[in-house]
Each structure stands twice: as C-alpha cells, then as structure tokens.
C-alpha cells in the first residue's frame, strides 16, 4: 500500500536527479515526436526528389536527404513511430502472456509448471536473437511479423521472473491465511498475490522495451527486418552503414536517435528497478 502513497512523489524524485530528468525528457519528447509525426514533419516520408539526393544538412532539410532524395528528419520522425511501437507492443505482449503463464506455473505447479519451465529452459539455452531470426523467416517482414518474432522469444524471460516471484510469494503467510478463510485459489492468485508483485513485474517489462527495440534493429540490419517502404530507426541506421564512406550523416543521425532513446530507457529502467527494490525491501522489513 505504501506504493500508492509514494506515487505522487516519484516525479519529484526523478527531477531531483538531473541526469535522469534529462533522459526522461528525451524519452517523452521522442514519444511526442512519434505521436505527432504526421503533423510536425515538413515533408512526406516517402516523397522522393531526384534533384535533392544525398544532400547534407541544410535549412530546407535539417538532417539532409537520403539516396532517393527523401528528407531524413521526416523519416526519423516516422521511424520513431515504428521503433517505439514495436518496443512497446512487444513489452505489452510479454506483460500479458508472460504474467499469466508465469503466474499459473508458479502458483499451481504440476503439469502446467513442467510445460512452461520446459519452454523457459529451452529458450534460455539458445540466444533469443538466434531464435528470433528463425521465427522472422516464418512470420515475414511486415510490422506484425517482426512484432511476433521478437515477442515470442521475449515473453519467456518475463514468464520466468513472474514464476519465480509467484512461487516465492505463494509460500507467504498471507496466502495461507487466505486459504484458511476459504478464498478460492484463482481469487488468491489474481486478487492478492499478483497485485503485490506489481513492482518486479513493471521493472521486468520496462527493461524489455530497449532490448526489443535493439532486436528489431538487429533483424533489420541482417536484412530480416521491416521491408520498405516501412522504415524504423534500425532500417534507417542500417541503410546509413552502407553510405558510411561518402555520406556519414545518413549513419550519424539515426544512430544518435537510437542511442539516446536506448540510453534513456535503459537508465530509467535501472532507476525504476533501484526504487522498486528499495521500496520492497522497506516493506518487507516493516
């Protein structure tokens, strides 16, 4: 319950750490840019112009143009939509699927646990990117296909965490007393155990956003990611690596965008984890 009480102050806490605050603002800005892309971008993302190919930064094209004369700034704005939404959508997929399966496995044990831990073991031996490559062959190179390929390997990690947490929590006295009161298992799990674990669950899911954005750029670079005309930051950056020698701006700007958002979300994820584990420690010593 102390979680609810400390809620209003978390933003104050965040602003006290100047570095964290700067990163938080970066993240908010990029989400805003992504949302508002169609309205604030000066050009159409696919508008080609043969006369304006491979220009450096100028007042007409702030970040220059690519090999088809498309405005890079506009493409980055629209790329933010794809990269961020893949990162967030896969995290939500993990949240739903991983929490449910992990909770069932940890709470009810038995055959369900054996099946789910079997999955977890298998996925933990083989690198998720290796498996994501193989899944992406089947699901194709559309937005939905990439989302599925990354989501399918990512949810397992979250399921493992939830399972461990629920397993531990189900041994606690309050679960026993709830049972003694005759409350049904389902109700104990969904209404009592899980709500108590919101902290670790939130931390684990938020940590997946940067790594899933990274996974998308990895697939794009290998030529297994989004297909044109879709362009995520990963696609733009990997196009940039090919023009490295002659037109470095095509590499630098997408890299900066990718780097700052990844740095911000990683740092804030860590920040959140420190706060949550601190508040959990405080609660357990009460």
């Amino acid at each position: 319950m102390s979680g609810a009480k400390s809620n209003p102050s978390w933003i104050k806490l965040l602003l006290r750490d100047r570095f964290a605050a700067a990163l938080f603002i970066t993240l908010v800005l990029s989400v805003l840019f992504a949302l508002l892309a169609p309205w604030i971008s000066p050009y159409h993302p696919d508008a080609q112009s043969i006369d304006d190919r491979l220009l450096g930064p100028s007042s007409a094209h702030w970040l220059g143009t690519d090999s088809l004369g498309r405005d890079l700034a506009t493409r980055l704005l629209f790329g933010a939509r794809l990269s961020l939404s893949i990162g967030i959508a896969t995290a939500i997929f993990s949240l739903v699927l991983g929490t449910i399966t992990g909770a069932l496995a940890g709470f009810f044990r038995g055959w369900m646990d054996r099946v789910i831990t079997g999955f977890i073991d298998f996925f933990s031996i083989f690198p998720s990117l290796l498996l994501a490559i193989l899944f992406s062959l089947i699901f194709g190179r559309g937005v939905f296909g990439i989302f599925l390929s990354i989501g399918i390997v990512a949810w397992v990690q979250h399921a493992r965490l939830v399972r461990a947490q629920v397993l531990q929590a189900s041994e606690l006295p309050y679960v026993e007393s709830a049972r003694a009161l005759g409350i049904s298992d389902q109700r104990i799990l969904w209404r009592h155990v899980l709500p108590n674990l919101w902290g670790p669950i939130l931390v684990s899911v938020s940590a997946q956003i940067p790594s899933n954005i990274m996974a998308e750029s990895f697939l794009s670079f290998l030529g297994l990611g989004l297909q044109p005309p879709h362009a995520s930051w990963g696609t733009l950056a990997s196009e940039g690596t090919r023009a490295l020698r002659s037109h470095p701006h095509l590499l630098i700007f997408p890299s900066v965008a990718l780097f700052s958002v990844l740095l911000a979300s990683q740092y804030l994820g860590d920040w959140l984890r420190d706060r949550v584990s601190a508040s959990f420690r405080a609660e357990s010593t009460d």
Binding site: F122, S124, P127, L130, L134
Partner: protein, 309 residues
C-alpha cells in the same frame, strides 16, 4: 557424481535434438526456397531440381533422412555452393569464429573484471557514476552501429586498421572490440554488484574489525566469494558472442560460422543452416554443462544434490 553427469548429458542431448527438429521445420515452413531466382524456372526444371535434392518427398521423410545421415556424420552438400559439403564449410569457418570469439571473450574478462572489482570496492561517487554511464552506453548502441562508427573513425579517417577481413593481427582489433563490448558490460556489471554485496556482509565487517586492511579483506576474503556469481554469466556471454558474431562477421566480412549462418538463412540453404545451427547448439549446450560443473566446484553449497521439490 557420474549419475549427475549422465543425467546432464541426457538433458543436453534432448535439448539439442529439440533445437535441431524445430529449426528443421521452421526453415522449411518459411516461404521461399533454395532455388528461387528472379525469373521463375519452368515447372519441369524446378521439379527435376527438387527431385535431385530430395525436396519432393514429404517433410517427415526428409527429416528422417537428414537425421539418419547426420548421425552418420553426413550433413549433405550446401545448396548455395553445390560442390562443397556442409561439414567442410563448417570446419573451415570454425577456427575463424573460435579465434574471434575467444579473443573477444578474453579481452572482455581482462578488462571487465578489474573495472568491476575496482568500481565495486571504491567509494568514489564520481568514478562509480562514470562506470555506470560507460556500461549503459555500451549496451545502448546496437553492435552494427558500433562497428560502423569504429570503421568510420579508425579505418576511413585515421587509416589505422583495415575495415574488413581476417588476415592478421591488425585485422583483429576492430571486430574484437565490437564483439567484446556487450559481454564486457555484462561482466563488469555483475562483478561490481557482487563485490558491493559481499563487502556488506558480516564476515567482512568481522575481518575489518580484526584489524585487517581494506586491501587484504578485499583480495583475500571478499573476492573469493564475489567471483562465484560470475560463473553463471558464461552462458549469457556465450550467447552474446554468438549472436554478436552474426553481425561482426557480416560487417567485417570474416569467413566464420556466423556469416555463413546469416547468408544460409537468407538464401534458404537448408543443409548449411542445419549444419551451422548444430555447431551453435553444441557450443551452447557445452557452455551450459561447463557452467554447472564449475558452479558446483566453486561453491560447495551447491554440491550436495538438492531434493527435488
């Protein structure tokens, strides 16, 4: 002990065969085939090619054939390079990948462990922040961008190192640096946390109270316990080196397993995909087994067999 080892071996074999089975069917269900080209081949020609490579049989039959042949050590010929057996390609690529991965692994340990120990033990807030920031930055840039930026700076502008290939020590630097960053960040992070944790424990306070110097306590008492969790990192580090090698070998044009795997996947070279995946699987399963043995050797508390719950 023998019983545990046998059980472990059986487990590894099951996991490995699961991997091979799922990869076989995943890549077969994927659209496209090894003989796709820009222009569609006449149906007759297409059928003859498929017949020649046994691709016209039902999938289950093909899988059975592959499994039987590979148990006898015959992995077939590559589809992309029809005159080269898969085993020959894999054996020629393996040394390159192993040396790349090995150097990166050693470098990551040699740099990551001292930084981790130092930043875990030091009470200097500025240094601590700096290390944290470095760690975060190194995991916030995708590997292919690290590689491209390194090439841009060190090959194109400074002309210090060659931008590609794997012909001698000067070729090793950039790929190794790219590949080692992420494992190094993992190692440093864990070592740092582990040292911090151990230093807060009671036996350290006792040792300090006894009058031992900070230095002695750190090296003789703390580190003995602090390095144990790092063994658990072997698996994740191997995984990072492996997927990192897909990128690094493709970017720097190193003829290693990772590059063959990526091009085989893109070209639907079924037999080569299976061959390279088998080697990856073997390496990972081996790493996992070694980790378990090392852990039980380093931490006697894990040695007594746990009762299964």
């Amino acid at each position: 002990m023998i019983q545990i080892a046998l059980k472990r071996l059986a487990h590894s074999l099951i996991v490995l065969s699961l991997l091979m089975t799922s990869v076989f069917f995943l890549i077969r269900f994927a659209p496209g085939g090894p003989f796709d080209s820009e222009r569609a081949l006449p149906a007759e020609v297409q059928r003859q090619i498929e017949q020649k490579y046994g691709l016209d049989a039902p999938l289950w039959v093909q899988f059975g054939r592959w499994a039987r042949a590979s148990l006898e050590g015959d992995f077939g010929n590559s589809f992309q390079h029809p005159d080269r057996p898969v085993s020959e390609i894999v054996l020629s690529a393996l040394p390159n990948s192993l040396s790349l991965g090995g150097i990166a692994f050693l470098a990551a340990m040699l740099i990551g462990i001292p930084i981790g120990i130092y930043s875990g033990a030091s009470r200097n807030a500025l240094w601590d922040r700096l290390v944290r920031l470095l760690l975060l930055s190194s995991v916030s840039l995708p590997g292919f961008l690290v590689a491209s930026l390194l090439v841009w700076i060190f090959s194109i502008h400074l002309n210090l190192f060659p931008p590609a290939l794997w012909d001698g020590p000067e070729h090793w630097i950039l790929p190794t640096v790219t590949l080692m960053l992420r494992p190094m960040a993992l190692i440093t992070r864990l070592m740092r946390g582990s040292v911090k944790d151990v230093l807060q424990q009671d036996f350290i306070r006792t040792a300090r109270a006894k009058g031992l110097s900070r230095h002695t306590v750190l090296w003789r008492h703390a580190l003995r316990n602090a390095w144990i969790p790092c063994i658990g990192l072997l698996g994740p580090v191997a995984a990072h080196l492996l997927t990192g090698s897909f990128l690094v070998e493709s970017i720097f044009q190193i003829p290693g397993l990772g590059r063959y795997f990526v091009s085989a996947v893109l070209n639907r070279d079924y037999s080569l995909v299976m061959g390279t995946t088998l080697v990856f699987g073997l390496i990972l399963v081996l790493f996992n087994a070694v980790t378990e043995v090392l852990l039980s050797w380093a931490d006697p508390r894990l040695r007594t067999p746990r009762r299964s719950s």
